[in-house]
Amino acid sequence: MQDANLQRRLILDIPTGFLLLFFVMPLAALVTLSFWQTENYKIVHEWTLMNYGTLATERAYITFFLRSLVMAIGVSVTLVALSWPIAYFIVRYGGRYRIIFSLLLVIPFLSGEVLRLIALQGMLGPAGLVNGALIRMGAAPLRMIMYSNAASFIAFIYLYLPLVVTTIYLSLINFDFRLAHAASACGANRFRIFTEVVWPLNLSGTIVGFMLAFIPTLSASLVPRFLGGPNGTLYGMSMAQQFGESGTWALGAAMGVVLFLFSAIALAILSYGVDLRRTGFTGLGRQ
């Protein structure tokens, strides 16, 4: 009995301690730093709201945030639209190869993100696969995919597509398609079956997929750095600069706190519509 108690406590306390040390404490340090100042690479330990004032009033940081928000919404919506048919196809027509199809989606994750971005940079760049082929055919290169927000958009889709397809796949695989057959038997057409039966009953998994793309896109720094070009600076990239080259850590910390709060609120709002039992993540199968 005592052993079981000890085991239970260890199972709970080790992750709790880990979270306290490596999540809560750094976050607390970040919040504290955001209320200080940096001056000539030195931290001035005086409490101030100036960093938050700067973020709320300076056009540059507002622009970075809005660019990131528009990018995150665009990327997430596109990913959901692309992932649905892919996941639906695997679940409905994958047969015994369903697992293999879904595992194939994971293959890009076997290499690092930087490597994948460099490969993409080579592909979309002026001498890359796309523009190289166009030039060889005598056509003009596509400038919009070279070092632009469009290039970043393509990269985000490439990076997060497997995540979103997998979440929607997990949702669909737990969905009872007999409900769709029943609706069909009652005279509903395909569009109505989808909008009134399949989509609402898989909304939770879709929202989880949306969030898995939305949150990292909002805070991304590597993609705009490698592919964004002169007009592609996003909020996460600017935040990384504060901690790196410019040494303005206090402003960077305030940017981090704002991002964390915004993401938490977005997560809370979106989670409102999530019923985990319907996502396929509970391991309980069909409910």
Binding site: R9, M25, Y41, A60, Y61, P126, G229, P230, Q242
Partner: protein, 383 residues
């Protein structure tokens, strides 16, 4: 005998105590038989390091950084006791010394220091002397500029005699600069101050003109100029391989860089790549930016065995054979005279006969206000 009860509270207390005590636990790698260096990764030659370790029976422990501000922060946070040797360029060593992070060095204990090119000798190269006390604070290592590499078939050489070339709509969409914000602002400042004629007027710090110390009016003009330049740029490259591809493919015809890519392009041509007339302009009529990488000894190193080891390491690093290899690997010019062991191509490639031009360049420095410069850069990026 006392009993310890394993409770949630006790585990959390133990965890917190361990976390608090961690900074005070002396790391094993800080043992006296180690030499710890904070350096640029490009200068690490594994075979030379192994030879140094074996001949001195010590362990060499390198840590790496990208930019001076990053090294400065690491040195200040870790304290000079965390490192024995450190690298920096431009005026940064003087700042380190003022802040007590470095110790005085002794050229007589580093025999290979007699092989420096005249411009970098102890008596001539004042950047590595403390202006107040005159003490020597480090050893020159590699040098370079932040000049313009261009395709002479598409950009007339005389156009690169001025910085206007990097802001010309004639090359719209075919220009590139690095993503380093300090050098973008400082280089634009050379053009702005020339246009405004403000260099000879009293400067904000009361000293002679330095593109890293700018008035608010000059910074505002720099911001405007960099915003105009954005539409002319294909991209701000993050790394040398990217710029190499852009220049070699012809997508970019002129770019500001450290001459490293220029050398790689010429080397590639010598190895069979399609011939293109790539050239490098070190200094423009408005001036240019230069840097001299150095080896410095931290104030945590006392006279005795550790100081001797540091001197011995620096002596090895600036020995002609090692310097030649570093030049080849890192693609930089060296401060040691290698002309007697180099052929004509190498002399041209590594600018061995142009080292006197360093005296006319403005050395890399700390921005007068990192906060103001950051704001300018953010405004440029957001525009």
């Amino acid at each position: 005998m006392f009993e310890t009860k394993l409770t949630r509270r006790s585990i959390l207390v133990a965890g917190a105590a361990t976390a608090l005590a961690a900074p005070f636990v002396r790391p094993s790698w800080a043992a006296p038989d180690t030499v710890r260096a904070l350096m640029w990764e490009a200068y690490l030659l594994p075979d030379q390091i192994t030879a140094f370790e074996e001949s001195n029976k010590v362990k060499f422990v390198p840590s790496f950084f990208d930019g001076n501000s990053e090294a400065y922060n690491k040195l200040r946070v870790g304290g000079s006791k965390e490192f024995d040797l450190v690298q920096a360029d431009g005026f940064w060593p003087q700042l380190y010394f003022r802040e007590g992070l470095l110790r005085e060095v002794d050229y007589s204990k580093v025999p290979n220091s007699s092989g420096y090119l005249p411009e970098f000798g102890a008596e001539v190269f004042k950047v590595l002397s403390d202006p107040q006390s005159g003490k020597k604070i480090g050893f020159p290592f590699c040098w370079g500029a932040y000049g313009i590499t261009y395709d002479a078939g598409k950009v007339q050489p005389e156009r690169t005699e001025t910085l206007e070339c990097m802001f010309s709509s004639d090359y719209s969409g075919m220009l590139s600069t690095s993503a380093r914000f300090e050098e973008n602002i400082a280089l634009a400042a050379l053009l702005v101050t020339e246009r405004l004629g403000s260099r000879d007027k009293p400067r904000p710090d009361g000293k002679p003109f330095n593109p890293y110390v700018l008035s608010d009016e000059e910074l505002a003009e720099v911001e405007k100029l960099l915003i105009q330049q954005k539409s002319l740029l294909l991209t701000r490259y993050q790394d040398n391989p990217t710029l190499f591809q852009l220049l070699q493919s012809g997508a970019v015809v002129a770019a500001t860089e450290f001459a490293q890519v220029f050398r790689q392009l010429l080397t590639a041509e010598a190895q069979g790549a399609a011939p293109v007339d790539f050239r490098h302009a070190l200094k423009m009529k408005e001036g240019g930016l230069g840097w001299v990488d150095t080896w410095l000894v931290t104030s945590g190193v006392q006279d005795g065995k550790k100081f001797d080891l540091c001197n011995s390491f620096i002596d090895l690093m600036i020995s002609p054979t090692v310097m030649k290899k570093i030049g080849e690997v890192a693609g930089c010019s060296t401060t040691v005279d290698l002309r007697s062991i180099s052929n004509e191509t190498e002399r041209k490639l590594f600018l061995m006969d142009r080292s006197n031009e360093i005296a006319d360049l403005f050395m890399f420095d700390q921005p007068s206000s990192p906060e103001k410069w950051e704001r300018v850069w953010s405004n440029v990026q957001a525009a």
